[in-house]
Every structure is written in structure tokens, then in C-alpha cells.
């Protein structure tokens, strides 16, 4: 909570009223997003200063009313009651004033100090409504400010109104007459007012709450006046309800809503002056096409394809231009770290570079995520996202998901390329708890960007001719698996979770603002970098340690050292009498070796003749004595001989270092774990090397390919790509395309990376679900991979046959389940009180 030196202002309003835009307008860039304690509802906070001091601003979640049924409504309510903001800005959609005022009435009954922000006046005008702001102010007795949030209109007026309202807190002027229920309301109010300690609470609102059986209101009373007294009042309210319902033949809740509605209707006849009816709005005309039964699916596919094309394909091309920057960063860090030794590098160097490499693999995706998040913000803000939910809900619902699961699945990478972290994060908006859990647990099955390199690698080795077909299988298979798994989970472990109906407003289309879209894109990318970055770096350290310890035994180290010495001796002998002997031997030897490797790497990366010339210049200035040894001048026979010997030595050094690294990994902790798992994983065809790669990929998916790269080291100068090397080694080891299929299937179903599981923890608020999100997919992946590999081996199937069989089997199963088996039944809602106690919000004033 902000310190209350200044004043505290809360923004309340219904969904799609433009509350967030107005919040941005009010506070500018000084804002941050946090969670309300204990729940996954975003709490946006910001502040601004006016002449009289600081104004702390909180953007409450959008709520249609203040009933205690949804998480957002409870959060908003408890904030208003617990924090008692100095002013509440009630954002009204001028084009939908009737509905908006229902919330205003409830806020006013809660005795909030209100300022009405009449937003979207332009939209109202366009749809033929003339809203008289002065009349509204006069009739409600509340200050009214006209704003057009997305054009930045009304900031000054709103700030002034907030400041002047903060000084005066009077009785709430807007009062609805509840007719035959008034007697009961006033009776309860009287009873409440006789209790000490309730002065702070809105008594009329509490009385109304009691008469509607509002469990949250009862809980509030219990806190303030004790269990007994609260029960007494509840009983008294119960009698009033019985009498009223017997006399009037209508439910108290309905009666209260109807009275409010009539009051608002009466008020609006004076406020809204003219109305053209019947002409369809732009939104309605657009929807006739976009939601047309036949056009809608095509349009949706086109949209998803465009997201994929622009963010993943073009974004990937963009990373070709940003990668040199990251490579430059690596070179720069490498220059700062202690120099490499002949055989063994100082730990600071190897760990430092390891960390930079880990960070770089992550940062490499930043351009893609910026584009992806911007596009998704565009779709959300325009109003199309809600339509996607409308189009797809039927299918998703059949498999236990929800129309609003679409966004998380797209973010997770439905086809290829996404990230489960923002995907799981985006499940926040799904109102149905069971579908939300199912979405959280299935998003990691999507093809995240980091799974793609491994697929590409395996396809390159084993399926050079069938790449396209296999990639099609892989990218669509994930969705098939996700739907099946979701269905499985919702009918088993998630069966008891609360469900809620799909009742949703389809908002008006509107043009998203550039700042709004960019802000969201940068916010989400920033969250990704912070959340994933810290975890990836921490885990990188752990994996580094697991790969390096306990290290080589002394005897083996001595053996390698002896071999290195012998190689150096041979080199020095060969150079005897050479003009460059002094420059190349003794203390100069190791720097020369590093100079040589650096030079070769730089030349390999240099583009064109111009690039080569620059590299030459750079290395000539770096060390003019060494330069002739890496690039012998024509005719200099001594230099040429030295260069040849140097090349032999460098090759020797490389191969020794490779052997050492492999030995180290074999004997490392991770290596032993990998070997220890072989008895289980051999059914899936995985040897310890693959196990190590898969284990380290739990830290971050990218590292699977990197680890495989280390394990399948190049023998010679590294001209062979990892694909060729791995192909040779595994084929020599009897591996087949079947093994590749087994790996692909395991990788597709394998548990989410560590960052994602942490996000699962955040979103489910439970370590049990986090553990489940690790154990279940591992078991499933291993089972599927083992079955495919074992059966495939037994019947002698080729890789492609096995893959096709799995794919079409899954598709058939999907169709059977989808069409024939009864969909998961809704779980009746438990009394809200029960759930609230579990997820109680701590900022309520306790008794």
C-alpha cells in the first residue's frame, strides 16, 4: 500500500468502459502492476502530483457490479471497504450509461466519495446519443467530468475534480427508493447503528447486503461484531426476506435490481436527450462479416497465421540482425574475463561465458516477443479477442477448456513459437476455475520457441526428405495432445474444481492506441525477461555446477597434462632455429594459442572482403608480433612453418579439451544421474547423453540443443555441424529415426521448463499443482515415448510410420472423444463463503 501522505484515488468502472486508458491518462508513465495479495488479479498502481500534493492512484479490476460472485468483484469491494480511498473515480461508458449507472448506485450506497468520469462521449455521439453531463451532475448530485480517454481529453478537468472532491466527504447524494423493502432496510440500519465500531462501515449498504443473502457482508459483520451478534442480525434479515417474498411474490435480489433499474431509467430520461434508434453501429456491421458463420473460421485462421508470420517468421529474421549485438556482448565479456589456459580455463571465465551464453539464448527472443505481444495487445484492445473466444468456445469447451483459453494457447505457441511463461500468465482472465486450471496445465504442451531448435536438429538428421510432413505433424500434434490431456484432466483430477458459465460482453470494436499497445508489449516483455531471466540465470549456475563437479580425478588430470606437455614439447622442438621461436614459445605460447583461435573465429564470422580486411587490421594492431604466425606473409618460409606447427598444436589442444570435457561430464553429477536413469529411459531408447540433455533442458529448453552440442563434440576443427556429428554418432550407436520420433514425442509432452513451473505456482497458488505440472507430463511423455519406441522396434517400423501412426491415432481419439463422449459436466458452485475463506484478502480491517 502506498504511504498515505497524499490522497488515495481508486478508479472503478465496468469492463470495456475505457478505465485503463483513463488510468494511463491520469497517471502517465509512473505506474506499476502488482497482484492483490493472495489472488491473481492485477493491481495497477500509479501516482501523479498536482499543486497540492501527491495523488496515489489505484486501478481497480473492471466489475459490472459489486456482488461478491467473481474474484474481481470481491477484490474491488474489499479494497473500497478496507482502504477507504479519498475519492473513487467511477468511469462511465457514455454510450452505455444505463448499465454503467447500476455500478454507480452501488458505489454510492457503499458511501464512496464519487467523481463520475463520463468517458467515450465521442462513441455515444456517433451512435446518436446526446448525453447531458450537467444534467447528470444535477440529478445525481455528483461531480461529472467528460473525458475521451484514448484522445487524451479531460485530464486537467478530472484531476481538478478529484482534488476538490477529496476535501469534502458528505452523505451520499444518490439514493434509490426500494419501496416496500424500505421498512426492512431502515429497521436493519437502525439495529446496525446501535453497535459500536460499525461507524466506519456503510450501514445502508450492509443492510441491503443482508437482505440479499450476501455472504461477504455477513463475514464482514462477523469480523466487526462477533459471530453471535452477526448471526442474530442474519436471522432478523432472514425473517424480513421471508415476509417480503411472501407479500410481494418476488425475490429480494430481483426487487432491489429492479428498483435500481427504474430509478436509473427515470434519471436517464432527463440526461439522454435524443436517440436515433435502429441504425446498426459500425461494430454490428463489421460483425456481420467477421462473425459470419462461414467467414468467421477463415478470418480466424488468417489472423492466427498473420500473428505467426509476422512475429515468428519475420521476428526470427529480425533476430539475425540483433544476434551480432549479443555476440558482441559475449566477445566483450570474454575480453574482460581472465584469459583461457592451455588446457583448463579459470572457473571465472568458463562460468562467466556460460552465463552470458544462457542469457543470450534468452535475449535472442526479445524481438520476437515484442512483436508477438504488440500484436496480441492489438487484438485484445481492438475487441477481436472476445470474438475469438466466441468462435472457439464450443470446441474448447468440449475438451474442458474455455473460449478464453485461446489467448494463453496462442501465446504458448499453438503452431510454432511462443512461450509458456506469458501463456500461463495470461490464464488470469479465464473466469472458469476448472477451465483455467486445465489451460494452465496444457499451455506447456504448446510448441514454445525453445523446443523448435531440437525439432529442427532431429528432423535435419533423421528426416531430411520428410521435413515438411514431420513439421506439420509436430506443430499440429501439440494441439491434439493438449485437447486430449485437458479432457483427461478435467474428468479426473480437476473434476471437483469450480466452473462458471460463459457469459461475456462482446465489446465494441475500437482503434487501439499506439501507446497503449506499445506499453502492453513492453510491459509483458519486461515481465518475461525479469521472471525468466532470473530463473534461467540461477538455474544456469546450478547446471554448470552439476556438469563440472566433482571434476576429473587427479590421475586423469595428470595424464591429460602430460599429453599436453608432450604436444607443447613437440611444437617447441619443431620451432627450434625458427625466426619466430621466441615470439611463439615460452610465456607467449598460451596467449598465442588464444590469439589464434580468436582470429580464426573472427575470420569465420567476418562478412565479405571488407569484413575480412577489418579483422586483419584489428588483429594486426592487437599483436603485431603474433600476426605473421596466424597469417604468414607470402615468401616467409619460417612464418609458414610456424603457422603449420601452430595449427597442429591448436588441433591437438582442441581435441584434448574435448576429451577432458566429455570425461568431466561422464563423471559429473548430472552425468551420473543421466546414467542412473538409463534403466528407465532405455525403453524409450534414450542413452545417458540424451538423458543429460533432457535433464538440462528442464532448466531452459534452449539448453537441450546446447548440451547435445557439448556431448557430441566435434572431433576435428568443428567443420561438421552438430547435425552431422550427432547423426554419425547416434547412427554408429545403432540409433534410428525411431529414436528421433521417441525424442520428439517425449519433448512435446515433457514438463514445462523451470520458469514455467514457477509461473504455474504463481497462477495456481499451490506447490501441489506445480509438482503435478512436472510429474504428470514426465510420466506421460515417458510412457508415450517408451510405447512408441518399444512397439516400433518390435514391429520394425520406420520413424515416419511410427510418427504417422501416433499422429493419426491421436486425431482419431480426439474425434471420438469430442463427438461421442459426453463433455465434462459443470461443477455446482460451492457457497462463496467457503472459497473466500481459503483465499481471504488480508487487507480487510479485522475486528
Amino acid at each position: 500500500m502506498p504511504e498515505r501522505k497524499g490522497i488515495l484515488v481508486a478508479l472503478a468502472g465496468q469492463q470495456n468502459a475505457g478505465k485503463s486508458t483513463l488510468f494511463n491518462l491520469l497517471t502517465g508513465a509512473r505506474q506499476h502492476v502488482a497482484n492483490y495479495p493472495g489472488v491473481t488479479v492485477d493491481k495497477k498502481q500509479g501516482r501523479y502530483s498536482d499543486r497540492e500534493g501527491v495523488v496515489y492512484t489505484v486501478d481497480l479490476p473492471g466489475t459490472y457490479s459489486l456482488s461478491p460472485f467473481s474474484m474481481e468483484e470481491r477484490v474491488a469491494r474489499e479494497f473500497l471497504l478496507g482502504e477507504r480511498p479519498d475519492v473513487v473515480v467511477d468511469v462511465l461508458d457514455a454510450a452505455n450509461l444505463h448499465r454503467a449507472l447500476h455500478l454507480t448506485v452501488q458505489l454510492s450506497e457503499m458511501q464512496q466519495n464519487l467523481v463520475l468520469a463520463l468517458n467515450m462521449m465521442d462513441v455515444a455521439a456517433r451512435s446518436g446519443l446526446q448525453v447531458d453531463a450537467d444534467r447528470l451532475a444535477a440529478r445525481t448530485g455528483l461531480p461529472v467530468v467528460s473525458t475521451v480517454g484514448n484522445r487524451g481529453k479531460g485530464r486537467g478537468d478530472l484531476r481538478r475534480a478529484v482534488r476538490s472532491a477529496a476535501g469534502q466527504r458528505g452523505p451520499s447524494p444518490l439514493r434509490v427508493d426500494y419501496g416496500p423493502l424500505e421498512a426492512a432496510i431502515q429497521e436493519l440500519e437502525r439495529q446496525l447503528s446501535s453497535w459500536p465500531g460499525l461507524e466506519e462501515l456503510p450501514l445502508r449498504w450492509l443492510a441491503l447486503g443482508l437482505l440479499q443473502g450476501d455472504t461477504e457482508a455477513v463475514r464482514l459483520l462477523r469480523q466487526h461484531m462477533g459471530r453471535e451478534a452477526a448471526r442474530g442480525l442474519q436471522a432478523s434479515a432472514g425473517r424480513h426476506i421471508q415476509v417480503f417474498e411472501a407479500q410481494e411474490g418476488v425475490d429480494t435480489g430481483d426487487h432491489i435490481t429492479r428498483c435500481r433499474d427504474e430509478a436509473i431509467r427515470g434519471l436517464l430520461t432527463e440526461v439522454i436527450r435524443s436517440q436515433r434508434e435502429g441504425r446498426p453501429t459500425l461494430t454490428q456491421r463489421v460483425d456481420r462479416i467477421v462473425l459470419n458463420r462461414w467467414i468467421a473460421p477463415a478470418f480466424l485462421v488468417l489472423t492466427v497465421f498473420l500473428i505467426y508470420q509476422i512475429s515468428i517468421v519475420w521476428g526470427y529474421e529480425l533476430t539475425n540482425h540483433t544476434w551480432p549485438l549479443l555476440a558482441g556482448l559475449r566477445e566483450w565479456v570474454a575480453g574482460l574475463l581472465p584469459d583461457a589456459g592451455f588446457l583448463v580455463d579459470p572457473y571465472t571465465r568458463s562460468l562467466g561465458l556460460w552465463l552470458v551464453d544462457s542469457a543470450n539464448t534468452l535475449l535472442n527472443y526479445v524481438p520476437i516477443f515484442l512483436i508477438l505481444f504488440a500484436l496480441i495487445a492489438l487484438i485484445e484492445d481492438s475487441g477481436y479477442m472476445a470474438r475469438i473466444a466466441f468462435i472457439l468456445d464450443k470446441i474448447l469447451h468440449r475438451f474442458g477448456l474455455h473460449g478464453q483459453s485461446t489467448l494463453p494457447l496462442i501465446l504458448g505457441g499453438v503452431f510454432a513459437g511462443g512461450c509458456a511463461v506469458p501463456g500461463v500468465m495470461a490464464t488470469k482472465g479465464i473466469p472458469d476455475q476448472r477451465a483455467r486450471m486445465a489451460t494452465i496445465l496444457t499451455v506447456p504442451f504448446m510448441n514454445c520457441l525453445a523446443k523448435v531448435p531440437l525439432y529442427t536438429l532431429l528432423l535435419g538428421i533423421f528426416f531430411p526428405g520428410e521435413k515438411t510432413l514431420m513439421m506439420f505433424y509436430i506443430s499440429t500434434m501439440t494441439l491434439v495432445f493438449a485437447l486430449l490431456v485437458s479432457r483427461l484432466l478435467t474428468t479426473t483430477v480437476l473434476r471437483g474444481q469450480e466452473t462458471s458459465p460463459f457469459i461475456m460482453e462482446l465489446p465494441r470494436y475500437h482503434l487501439p492506441t499506439i501507446t497503449g499497445v506499445l506499453r502492453r508489449a513492453f510491459d509483458r516483455t519486461g515481465q518475461y525477461i525479469r521472471k525468466v531471466g532470473t530463473v534461467v540465470l540461477a538455474v544456469a549456475v546450478v547446471v554448470f555446477v552439476l556438469l563440472h563437479f566433482p571434476g576429473l580425478p587427479k590421475a586423469q588430470q595428470a595424464e591429460f597434462a602430460a599429453r599436453a606437455e608432450a604436444a607443447v614439447e613437440r611444437f617447441e622442438n619443431a620451432l627450434q632455429g625458427n625466426a619466430y621461436a621466441a615470439a611463439a614459445t615460452g610465456a607467449n605460447l598460451v596467449p598465442l594459442m588464444n590469439y589464434y583461435t580468436d582470429y580464426n573465429r573472427a575470420k569465420l564470422n567476418a562478412a565479405g572482403a571488407e569484413g575480412s580486411r577489418r579483422v586483419a587490421e584489428r588483429f594486426q594492431t592487437r599483436n603485431p608480433d603474433f600476426y605473421p604466425l596466424v597469417k604468414p606473409p607470402p615468401g616467409d618460409r619460417d612464418a609458414r612453418k610456424a603457422w603449420r606447427e601452430l595449427r597442429v598444436l591448436a588441433r591437438e589442444r582442441k581435441s584434448l579439451r574435448r576429451e577432458m570435457r566429455e570425461q568431466r561430464i561422464v563423471q559429473s553429477v548430472l552425468g551420473s544421474i543421466g546414467r542412473g536413469l538409463e534403466p528407465i529411459t532405455r525403453f524409450a531408447g534414450f542413452d545417458w547423453k540424451i538423458n543429460v540433455a533432457l535433464l538440462s533442458s528442464f532448466a531452459a529448453r534452449e539448453s537441450s540443443v546446447a548440451t547435445l552440442g557439448v556431448l557430441f563434440q566435434p572431433d576435428e576443427d568443428g567443420n561438421a555441424t552438430l547435425e552431422e556429428r550427432m547423426g554419425e554418432e547416434t547412427r554408429a550407436g545403432g540409433a534410428t529415426a525411431l529414436l528421433a520420433v521417441s525424442m520428439i514425442l517425449f519433448f512435446a509432452l515433457y514438463p514445462p521448463c523451470l520458469a514455467t513451473t514457477l509461473m504455474v505456482k504463481v497462477q495456481t497458488d499451490s506447490y501441489r499443482w506445480m509438482v503435478f505440472s512436472i510429474v504428470f507430463p514426465t510420466a506421460l511423455g515417458l510412457t508415450v515415448a517408451s510405447l512408441v519406441y518399444s512397439i516400433g522396434t518390435a514391429v520394425g517400423a520406420t520413424g515416419l510410420q511410427a510418427m504417422s501412426a501416433v499422429y493419426w491415432g491421436a486425431v482419431i481419439l480426439l474425434l471420438l472423444v469430442g463427438l461421442l463422449v459426453r463433455p465434462p459436466q459443470p461443477t455446482p458452485l460451492r457457497p462463496t463463503g467457503e472459497r473466500n475463506h481459503r483465499r481471504r484478502l488480508p487487507f480487510m480491517g479485522g475486528a
Binding site: Y64, S65, S67, F69, S70, A95, N96, H98, R99, H102, S127, G253, D254, T257, R258, D261, T283, Q284, D287, L291, R293, W294, A296, P297, A386, A389, F390, I391, D393, K394, I395, H397, G403, S500, P501, F502, I503, M504, E505, L506, P826, L829
Partner: protein
């Protein structure tokens, strides 16, 4: 449920064809569903129009005042409607 429902079940929103209008008679749902419907302006006596159903027939889109609302047929079945005389 009221025992005095007529022999033929009263029409619900689910029976409304696209393009047709009707008046809300009463809600059969309780709890959060009822509250959400009320919050969205679907009060007894309100005039609503069926706009369209989704490509796979479910959910449906209805128009309430100036607002488009989508809901599943399962929930649409809980809203009893009557002919709109206005």
C-alpha cells in the same frame, strides 16, 4: 422450480431464432449466473434480440440495449422469454 409451469415448457432464449426479438420473462438460474445476467442488463421485462449463433451453433450472441452479449445455449435455456408486444 415453480410447480405451476404450464404443460408445454415456456419458451426460452435458446428457442429464439437469429434476428428475432423477445422480452425476458424471468430467470431460472440462480447465484452467479443470475447475477451476471442481471449485471449485463438482462433484467426481467427487458427486450433482447437474438443476433446470431457461433459457427458451431454454440454459444449465441444477443443484443441487450446497446450491448452485445455472448452466452452458451446451456445458460440461454435458463432465460424464459415471451413475445415482445412493443
Amino acid at each position: 422450480m415453480a410447480p405451476d409451469t404450464p404443460a408445454s415448457t415456456p419458451p426460452t432464449l435458446n428457442d429464439l431464432r437469429p434476428g428475432r426479438r423477445a422480452r425476458v420473462r424471468r430467470h431460472r438460474a440462480a447465484g452467479p449466473v443470475r447475477q451476471r445476467l442481471l449485471d449485463l442488463g438482462i433484467l426481467p421485462g427487458t427486450c433482447i434480440a437474438m443476433v446470431r449463433s457461433a459457427p458451431l451453433n454454440d454459444p449465441v450472441e444477443i443484443r441487450v440495449g446497446a450491448v452485445s452479449v455472448t452466452l452458451r445455449r446451456h445458460e440461454a435455456r435458463t432465460i424464459e422469454v415471451e413475445a415482445d408486444d412493443a
